[in-house]
């Protein structure tokens, strides 16, 4: 068996998930911040900053999901039943918030309902994504190649905490995005929200960093055994520096840098997850190789995927370039 094919696919899916988290992260974050601003005027402006991008952002989620079925059918067949309810709630949350972009503009008297759908859908989707991450870290009960746990195994204090952590993380991404893309009242609110979200994110990062190794010996060993620790010690250090920079630039009134710091913080958290769990796709038992499709299937699908990747990335860059710059009040695509 070609041992490198599953690794290539893990990279492809890992990249798609990272793209999704960053890109959809800030537009879900807008939804999370929706209830915390004063007027529908502000909400219009907030929505307009992400309106041209959101559906492109979500394509990365589909790519991640379809990729998992294509390349790691066993992992797909275990993870989705294990996170049945969270996955369903994410999908429905995304449907509701997605259509809110359009129906909110048509609605006249029922605008508040679509505000609610947008905020609720975004928050639920973000929360459940965190729950899934927490549930994966906690480990999944498997028998052979099927899920062997109960319907609510994911419902643990740790994974719920990860849910809240994800919501604050996306809120930070959303607020710093707004800071970069808007002016006036929206930007002022965003600056305040970003600061609060940053403190919350730091709190959760600290808790996760302590809680995970204490509860899971395998993760503690991964980080603190030698020589691993010699390679991994910069991760927390870089994270600390990035957090400080984010805080510093927020204080200084920089519009641009906090967003990139927030992305970098997410990237560090993601690396931490990968370090803790690699090569397991279904921790703590099944690796990328255990869950991989046969080489003939992985290769067949890889050809098309590698062809599409540059096009998708090019399209993403193009769209963000077209819609660069700040969105002012009353300005939009509607």
């Amino acid at each position: 068996m070609e041992w490198y094919l599953p690794l290539i696919w893990a990279l492809v899916i890992g990249f798609a998930v990272a793209m999704y988290v960053v890109l959809d992260g800030f537009d879900l974050g807008i939804g999370i911040l929706f209830p915390f601003v004063d007027s529908d005027q502000e909400r219009d402006q907030m929505m307009n900053t992400v309106a041209p991008f959101w559906d492109g952002n979500e394509t990365w989620l589909v790519l991640g999901g379809a990729g998992l079925l294509v390349a790691f059918p066993v992992a797909y067949a275990i993870l989705l039943p294990a996170f049945y309810l969270p996955v369903t709630l994410i999908l429905l949350g995304l449907v509701l918030r997605g259509v809110s972009f359009e129906f909110r503009w048509i609605a006249k008297t029922s605008k508040y309902l679509w505000n609610f759908a947008f905020a609720g859908g975004s928050t639920v989707a973000a929360f459940m994504q965190g729950v899934i991450v927490g549930g994966m870290v906690s480990g999944i009960k498997v028998q052979g190649t099927q899920y062997a746990g109960g319907s609510f195994d994911w419902f643990t204090p740790f994974s719920l905490m990860c849910g809240f952590a994800m919501v604050t993380g996306y809120a930070l991404l959303g607020a710093t995005w707004l800071l970069m893309k808007t002016e006036g009242a929206v930007a002022e609110h965003a600056r305040r929200h970003a600061m609060i979200a940053l403190y919350a994110v730091l709190f959760f990062m600290a808790v996760v960093s302590l809680w995970t190794p204490l509860e899971h010996a395998r993760i503690a060993e991964r980080w603190f055994s030698l020589p691993n620790f010699l390679f991994f010690w910069p991760v927390p250090l870089v994270t600390a520096v990035l957090s400080f920079l984010c805080w510093y630039w927020l204080r200084k009134g920089n519009d641009f840098m906090p967003f990139w710091c927030a992305i970098a913080l997410f990237f560090m958290g993601y690396s931490g997850l990968v370090i803790s769990n690699f090569p397991y796709l279904v921790p703590p038992t099944l690796s990328v190789w255990d869950t991989a499709a046969v080489p003939a299937s992985q290769l067949f699908a890889l050809m098309g995927t590698l062809f599409m990747f540059p096009i998708l990335i090019g399209y993403t860059v193009f769209i963000y370039w077209i819609f660069r710059g700040k969105v002012r009040e009353g300005e939009g695509y509607h």
């Binding site: 309106a51 041209p52 559906d55 492109g56 394509t59 589909v62 790519l63 999901g65 379809a66 990729g67 998992l68 079925l69 294509v70 390349a71 059918p73 066993v74 797909y76 067949a77 275990i78 989705l80 039943p81 049945y84 309810l85 996955v87 369903t88 709630l89 999908l91 429905l92 995304l94 449907v95 509701l96 997605g98 259509v99 972009f101 359009e102 503009w105 048509i106 099927q146 899920y147 062997a148 319907s151 499709a293 046969v294 003939a296 299937s297 067949f300 699908a301 098309g304 995927t305 599409m308 096009i311 998708l312 399209y315 769209i319 077209i322 819609f323 300005e331 939009g332 695509y333 509607h334």
Partner: protein
């Protein structure tokens, strides 16, 4: 909770996929229609083709978005509800569905944007080209998903290793025996369905006495197309049936409610299949006619339902009645298209209100026929999920029935809201009509499909 997860999972999948199939059916047909309009516009230079193309593009945008949204749900349901199927068939069905997803993205990332928002930004021929590319792309998307479905009906090109289906010959998998027929039947159905929608909108404007040029064009194009394609579809369906008889004879037996294979099959016009006593009640039938259709010989035999034990039979009533709904609508389409041609020839088409009125309200019949057709083929495959290889009962995820039930309720609630809004919205676009507002976007280029319609409000 002690609720049967299998039945609930089947209901849930049937519900979400039935909602989904409506939109691809329409977008496959509509993209081809828009491309045709654009070619005629380019060729003749007549402005009303342009107005029509722009009008339908707005409706296309909304439908495409609905199709994408409801499709995302499906791509995850294979895992949530059918994890054992995903494990068993993932090596084969996975890449095929992967290509379907990639094709859809490719479209969204390239030509769709030009088609929806490029009206005043790109040269005319490029826009025409983009429309043709989108029409071809939706066909490609259908190609992959129908290939995956056909493999589940007539699997080949695989081997079973450690209880899992693995690919041996991709060409044999993609072009499995029922695929060419299913592909032809479904794409023709999509075109035919759309032609009746176009026809209905033309009739609506004609009756209302507005958009006269556009209404005339839509009526002529709809009727002309349907008059050729509806009979053609009958022929394709017949060929598809012969293919099914060869590979899935029990599905045919259920479609014909043919119990006893030792007698020639009668063409059952109506009956109430009694599965317990293995016979038909209240049967009205033409003796030997089914044998004539299927074998081209009135005395030829074909397998009956009783040739397999009851647990290997599909749900006969579902297959039997759904098949009659589909064929009934097909025959109505042929009849009404021919009658339209007659009126056209007598130069009475635009005045005959008693013909236009029912046609105005018949926009949905194609969708019902498509759904009925899928009910026939999917129910007819039961009790197998992959015909002869894996039973549906063995394909289900290890999840509790209560969980499936609660998510089913959630799906029904959310879909009801979202899709009734969508249909209300499309209806509003139709009520406004072509050329209502052809202003270009004033700032930026919204790239979202739905925005193309909303923009015009």
């Amino acid at each position: 909770m002690d609720i049967d997860p299998l039945l609930l999972a089947r209901i849930q999948f049937a519900f979400t996929i039935t909602f989904h199939i409506i939109f691809p059916t329409f977008t496959i047909g509509l993209s081809a229609y828009i491309a045709t309009l654009e070619v005629m516009w380019l060729w003749s230079g007549r402005e009303h083709y342009h107005r029509l193309a722009r009008f339908w593009t707005k409706i296309f945008a909304v439908s495409f978005a609905m199709g994408v949204v409801s499709g995302i749900v499906l791509s995850y349901q294979f895992g949530t509800n059918w994890s054992r199927f995903s494990e068993f068939a993932g090596n084969i069905v996975g890449p095929l569905m992967g290509y379907e997803v990639l094709t859809a993205f490719f479209l969204e990332a390239t030509f769709l944007g030009i088609m929806l928002f490029g009206w005043d930004r790109v040269p005319k021929p490029l826009h025409v080209f983009a429309c043709i590319a989108v029409a071809a792309g939706t066909l490609m998307s259908a190609f992959w998903i129908l290939s995956a479905n056909s493999w589940m009906q007539t699997p080949q090109g695989h081997a079973i290793q450690n209880g899992i289906a693995v690919p041996v010959d991709w060409l044999a998998i993609v072009f499995n025996p029922s695929f060419p027929y299913r592909f032809a039947h479904m794409t023709t159905a999509a075109y035919l369905t759309t032609s009746f929608v176009v026809l209905a909108v033309g009739a609506r404007y004609m009756i209302a006495g507005k958009f006269f040029d556009e209404a005339k064009t839509m009526l002529r194009m709809g009727i002309g197309f349907a008059a050729i394609v509806a009979p053609l579809q009958l022929l394709i369906g017949d060929q598809h049936g012969l293919n099914t008889l060869k590979h899935q004879p029990i599905k045919i037996a259920a479609m014909e409610a043919h119990w006893d294979g030792s007698h020639p099959g009668a063409l059952v016009l109506f009956a109430w299949p009694d599965e317990k006593n293995e016979k038909n009640l209240f049967e009205i039938s033409i003796p030997k006619a089914a044998s004539m259709i299927l074998k081209h010989d009135p005395n030829a035999l074909f397998p009956g339902l009783k040739s397999v034990p009851p647990q290997d039979r599909p749900p006969v009533k579902n297959v039997f009645f759904a098949f009659r709904v589909m064929v009934g609508i097909g025959l109505f389409m042929i009849g009404s298209a021919f009658f339209g041609i007659y009126l056209w020839w007598r130069r009475k088409l635009f005045q005959t209100r008693w013909y236009l009125w029912p046609m105005q309200h018949a926009w949905w019949i194609g969708f019902v026929a498509v759904i009925a057709g899928w009910l026939v083929t999917e129910n007819g495959r039961q009790p197998w999920i992959v015909y002869g290889l894996q039973r549906t009962a063995d394909a289900i995820s290890p999840v509790a029935g209560g969980l499936v039930l609660s998510t089913l309720i959630l799906y029904v609630a959310v879909y009801s809201i979202v899709f009734s809004m969508g249909i209300y919205y499309i209806n509003r676009l139709i009520a406004k009509g072509p050329g209502a507002d052809e202003l270009a976007p004033d700032s930026g280029v919204p790239n979202r499909p739905l925005a193309a319609g909303v923009k015009q409000q």
